[in-house]
Symmetry: C2
Amino acid sequence: MAFDLSVCFEQLLNVEGGEMAKTGTSSRLVDTVSPRSAGTRRLLVDAAIETLRVDGYAGASARAIAERAGSNQALVFYHFGSVVNLLLAALDAVSSDRLEQYDAAVDKVGSPAELVDVATAIFRQDLDAGYVTVLVEMIAGASSTPGLGAEVAARIGPWFAFAERAIEKSVGGSPLGSVLPAGDVAYGVVALYLGLEMLSHLEGERDRSLALFTHAKQLAGLFEAISGPTPKETP
Amino acid sequence: MAFDLSVCFEQLLNVEGGEMAKTGTSSRLVDTVSPRSAGTRRLLVDAAIETLRVDGYAGASARAIAERAGSNQALVFYHFGSVVNLLLAALDAVSSDRLEQYDAAVDKVGSPAELVDVATAIFRQDLDAGYVTVLVEMIAGASSTPGLGAEVAARIGPWFAFAERAIEKSVGGSPLGSVLPAGDVAYGVVALYLGLEMLSHLEGERDRSLALFTHAKQLAGLFEAISGPTPKETP
DNA sequence: GTCTATACTTGGATAGAC
DNA sequence: GTCTATCCAAGTATAGAC
């Protein structure tokens, strides 16, 4: 067997028929993964996130990432097989981390106004930490790398699903909810989220984006006043 | 007046003391532009647009663009000084072309429902021709190249201005218009537009985006019914 | 103005020592 | 698992022939 690179690679990336990687960081049964290895991978993934955030997709080279990780360029290929796979692992990390946060936050939400409040806080977090930038860079960068598009698309799916759940939960039972399909609205909300992220980064337009949430809050209040006190109370 | 492309080019290369958009070899005052030169530049700009669209920012190299133009790699540097400058020229071309179209289309619009109709047609055009992809790629790519962000931002400005005018025109006089500042709404609309473009490209999600316009049409109709026949009739 | 040739740099990826 | 060294491909940019 000589190198467990193949094994490790299997475990790590779960590559099947396709050319591109499937899962993210650990996966599989983790018996054989040394803590040292895990630590390095972690460092590389974190550095990849930071690099995507700061230097964008085009600037996310193995060398740039490794340097930021205080590590070695060759390790990128040892642990992830290719740069793109590392970037996908980074996207996985961001995605699961954020969705967990979103779920926890929305769990406590009942009314549309509350939903907007929570969304505002979350958006501010995302913006400051640059999480969604990673997503945006991967989507935009996908054009440059054959096969990457499908991988990224698969990782965005859960974002739609989450948005749909959140919308369904807070406005699903209302008259508006029966006119507008939650799925379509969710799609639009995710699109808006991505777009705001892009524009915010382009200049010091952070405040401009946040202003929109203020307006949304007003509209949510208006909406609640019209359609009744709490949408959850009419099962 | 022949081509105002030359004028555009002048502007592009005359950007002040910054590091960006320094002039290349030629291009002084443009009295001396030969038709041959203009033709080549045109070819390169068009190829740059196409390359940004298909291969993204990271794939838009001088070689790739020149090959698509059936031209020579060295000409990129001769005519534009650098690859980024050519990409900015491409963005300029797309931007002015599209805004002209938008203006013409919105000029005939009165009611919100009409605005949505026009926007739908325009969006479908943009999507199929990939115009906005160019914009998206440049915004996302700006992270990788120091100084590019400001240049791109300057070129997006007119898009906000246009959106604001369009919104002001069709809902400005209504009760909703006095609650929601047209500028903020415009910012959100542009963001949504960019986000939908991104997502549409990620998969065959074209229809999903277009569905949103259908819903918007319904809402516009509802809005008109509530706030009166034609917003323009109450000056 | 356009082409070929070339200098120089960066990046992906592998080999092999430790 | 990690590091150094290295190969090779691709990219930017310039020089000089046509």
